[in-house]
Amino acid sequence: MNKDKISSQEIIDLVASKAKVSKRVAEEFLKAMISTIEEAMIDGEVVKVKGFGTFKLQWNEPRKSVNVQTGEEIILPGYHKVNFIPDSVLKELVNEPFEHLFPVELDGEIEEPNYEGGEVPLDPLRIFEEQASEIKDLLFEIQALSSITKKQTKEEEIIQEEIIKPEQEAENQLEIIDEVEDVVESPEISELTNEENEPKPEDNHDIVPELNAIEPVEIDVESKSEELELEIAPNSDETEPKNRKFLIRILIAFVVLIGIGCGLYFVYPPAKDFADSTYENTKMSVLRTSEKISITDMVNTISGWFSPESKTSEIPHIVVIPKDTTAIDSLSTNVAVDSLQALFDNPRVYTEFIATEKFKDGGRLTKFAKRYYGNKEFWVYIYEANKDKILNPDIITVGTIIKIPKVNPLLINVSNPRCIQKAKELNDIYVK
């Protein structure tokens, strides 16, 4: 640590050269400044210098002490002390070498006080915890929604059925099966039971997404891993709200059947003939039950299912495309939030770089992040882009060339707390 002392004279010289004034003026100014501050303090005022700090007087009370030699009690007189509180700007500048350090909570022998709900109602930590869990639940909900929205926005071809929503799923499935049984009695129903059916979850605003085309495809019958492809295509016809629910149910049932038949049709040659007949049956039954659906609509929707079907029948995937005029408003807000989530969930690929930095002694990725992205939390993205060179983000060899990647500005939005949250989550993953 360099502990050179800079005297008043040196300060005067530096200020004079910096402000391009004569030393005499600088000296005069410094003296005036100091005496002004002193006088103001003596008057009991608080002196605040922008960008530097605050000076104020502090009265230290007289206190008792003991004379070390004689042992007799003496009273140290009270005195005034100049208290200097550095400005936050100065504080941060001075503390730059340790800027990247955070207080770390140590767990271990922490005994969580086990009190019942009513006993300590005003414990702020407890309230905070409750709020935190609430927020967590909300986040889970958002994530559940977003994972589906992601599929529809990205239209990814292959998505394994990973998301499990047991209750909803089961209920919906049962409903579908019931409907199927009601409308047409088909031998394929039994095959539905093993299949994973993933309908779009209803969101909080009581919006039932209008599903008018669900296309389940049975992929592999022989290996008994029956998978279902579910496709909800946009709905074009507007029906009366009364009839809508009924129609939806009919359509779901109809489509499920068609899907199964179609799956068999493509995959299972022996079932080809049977599927054709099922298709005809279903069509007839629906026509019988609801006369509101015109044949042209039917043909359009059916041809709609068939054309993409032939291309993607080998890949198990779910594409959920709700198109409901009433749902658009609420969904659009979800999409706005969830497109960000999709960004988070997607692996980031770094192809463009805005700068390269040579890692210096005492350097930090957080410093680069702060300089290029505006927040030190975003260092994780630099690390991700330089993973091949950096084995451990805590230990980086001096002289390593570090590329600063160009990151999607949405991802490093300093004012968005979710971005910072995400960066912190990544931080927790990388630093263990």
Binding site: I6, T36, V49, G51, L106
Partner: protein, 96 residues
């Protein structure tokens, strides 16, 4: 006394325009900040010393929750008044 009031008080004392004083003050602050970042001690005679001190890392225990937290080391600016200033302040009549 805030920044503006300080500037006007100094300009009154120096018989100099406020703009000049403001500029000088800004430059002084910048110089001092630079020096402090380099961890140098700045001594104003008759006023005191500004220096950077390192606060070592420590373990703090939250008194209510007993959560132990490791506080990282940090550098802080410390001001120590000179004896001249201290003597001046001694004459101050204590009203507390």
């Amino acid at each position: 006394m805030n920044h503006k009031e300080l500037i006007s008080a100094i300009s009154l004392k120096m018989n100099a325009p406020k703009s000049v004083v403001a500029d000088l003050l800004e430059k002084t602050v910048a110089t001092c900040t630079e020096l402090l970042v380099e961890e140098k001690i700045i001594g104003f005679q008759s006023f005191g010393n500004f220096e950077v001190r390192k606060k070592e890392e420590r373990l703090s225990v939250h008194p209510a929750t007993q959560i132990r937290t490791l506080i990282p080391p940090k550098l802080v600016v410390n001001f120590k008044q000179s004896n001249i200033l201290k003597d001046k302040l001694k004459d101050l009549i204590t009203n507390e």
